[in-house]
Amino acid sequence: MKKISTPYLLLLPGFAFLFVFFILPIINLAQTSTQTRVVGGDVLEYEQTLRLANYLDAFIENREQFTRSFIYALIATVLALLISYPLAYALAFKAGKYKNILLVLVIAPFFTSFLLRTVAWKQILGEEGFVVPSLRTFGIISENTTLTSTSFAVVMGMTYNFLPFMTLPLFASIDRIDPRTLEASEDLYANGFTTFRRVTLPLSMPGVVAGTLLTFIPAAGDYVNAQILGNPNTKMIGNVIESRYFRIVDYPTAAALSFTLMAAILILVTLYIRKAGTEELV
């Protein structure tokens, strides 16, 4: 009897906490999303209706920002994967005794404030930085091309900022691969590419799935990079939600947008996990 109840006792405080501060707020968000403004009432006066059209309105009005969020997040995730995979591979197999030190160095930049690093990129890529003048000298970009306040800068900033969420899970799963399986593949006359495609990559799939999810999810909801590195035409759905809450004070629309974002991400994540075939994620 005691044996059966132990796990539940262990779960109780944490899950009670998550229920009150995660589940209840989400339910409340759903409620708010169908409210309507009281006609002739105060600015902040809303009444509980079941106006599902809020969703339609919110989506139609902001579908451009929705699409942009998912496209930017997707590009940033793919870039982060392309940058991180060789890095994680090199750390796991080629770093030898320097493995731990290099791993620390990969994480270390992310202890400097996320916002300051983003502002730093803005300065580095800006007119006074060293990147733009040197690219102009070499004729790679024309005189009137800028790098900041562009979609390029936003995607680049997201790629950089969410990189450790990609590199760490990748490293964890590549590091777990027994090097003898790679040797076995070579013994069976597979070349480097075949070994990678048929042995290394499949064995590192849990890391790829975890890393892409941990990068894509925060990237899709981010608004800091778009705010600091972008322009009014690179606004993402996060920017819209933020301004609906704090500037326009339109809670139902903001809630409907948040809920749509959450649902869209959950559906994508579920489909992706099904497709990638990894159930063991957490």
Binding site: P7, F114, L115
Partner: protein
């Protein structure tokens, strides 16, 4: 005859292998140099500009000075923001580490009804974008007419830290050798003694790593904080708000200090764990 054949084959096949391996090896080195340069450019920039004699707006290099380092609280609000971030970070770390470790033991150690449902409940906060977590808690606060501030921020941070703690500690529990606990039981340790003397010390590095992760997530969080902190200013919020009119160089001093502190802490942790492994 056979020796001669071997000699003839050396310059063709092995040379190709040697060259390709040489290129392969150096490609990785070249790649690592590029990757680390990319990772460290903004850090180097932040560090360099902490020595800028810039006045209020730290945008253009105006000259070298140690003033920002000798007077890190020189800019208004910067140190009170830092203090808030540390307080919130520590509280969120303590709560999330305790709650998360308990959940990790339940999921990692017991087979019980509803185990997959509890896995899902842990995964959901991680699959929810920060802005939704922040916005939903804010809308609950509005309903109960609780004003955003210090404690709502702490609670919001605990929500997203708990899942990361569970995942980290669970991974450590899963890698434990069950034989060690069985051995303790064989030596007449009761369940509690086994837990306290064997299981807990073995899981401790995982708990420490989880706590460190929770603190760094909380300390660096901006989006959820922005939604739930009201008038309380944390360090990331301070940077965000002052970005428009210029960030004082003192912020760079603080960020650089955090960087070196974290680096030192992680390296000390590595050395300690290696010593333990040896002994």
């Amino acid at each position: 005859m056979s020796v001669k054949q071997k000699d003839a084959s050396i310059p063709t096949l092995p040379l190709g292998v040697v060259i390709s391996r040489w290129i392969g090896r150096n490609l990785i080195r070249i790649y690592m140099v590029f990757a680390f340069t990319y990772l460290f450019i903004p850090v180097a920039y932040t560090f360099a500009f902490s020595f800028n004699d810039s006045g209020k707006s730290n945008l253009i290099w105006k000259g070298f000075t140690f003033d920002n380092w000798t007077n890190p609280c020189g800019a208004p609000q910067v140190c009170s923001a830092l203090g808030n971030s540390i307080k919130i970070g520590l509280l969120a770390t303590i709560f999330s580490t305790i709650l998360g470790t308990m959940i990790a033991f339940a999921i990692g150690r017991y087979a019980y009804k509803g185990r997959s449902a509890s896995n899902l409940l842990i995964f959901l906060p991680m699959a929810t974008p920060e802005i939704v977590l922040g916005a939903s808690l804010l809308s609950l606060l509005l309903v109960f007419q609780i004003s955003p501030g210090f404690w709502p921020t702490v609670l919001a941070h605990v929500v997203f830290c708990v899942s990361f703690v569970v995942v980290t500690v669970k991974a450590r529990i899963a890698s434990l050798d069950p034989k060690l606990e069985q051995a303790a039981m064989d030596l007449y340790a009761n369940e509690f003694q086994t837990f306290r003397r064997v299981t807990l010390p073995l899981v401790a590095p995982g708990i420490a790593a989880a706590a460190l992760l929770a603190f760094s997530l909380s300390f660096d969080d901006f989006i959820i904080t922005n939604f739930n902190s009201g008038t309380v200013t944390t360090f990331p919020k301070f940077v965000y708000v002052s970005a428009a009119r210029g960030i004082p160089a003192q912020a760079n001093v603080i960020a650089s200090t955090m960087f070196f502190l974290a680096l030192a802490l992680v390296i000390i942790g590595q050395v300690v764990s290696r010593k333990r492994k040896v002994s």
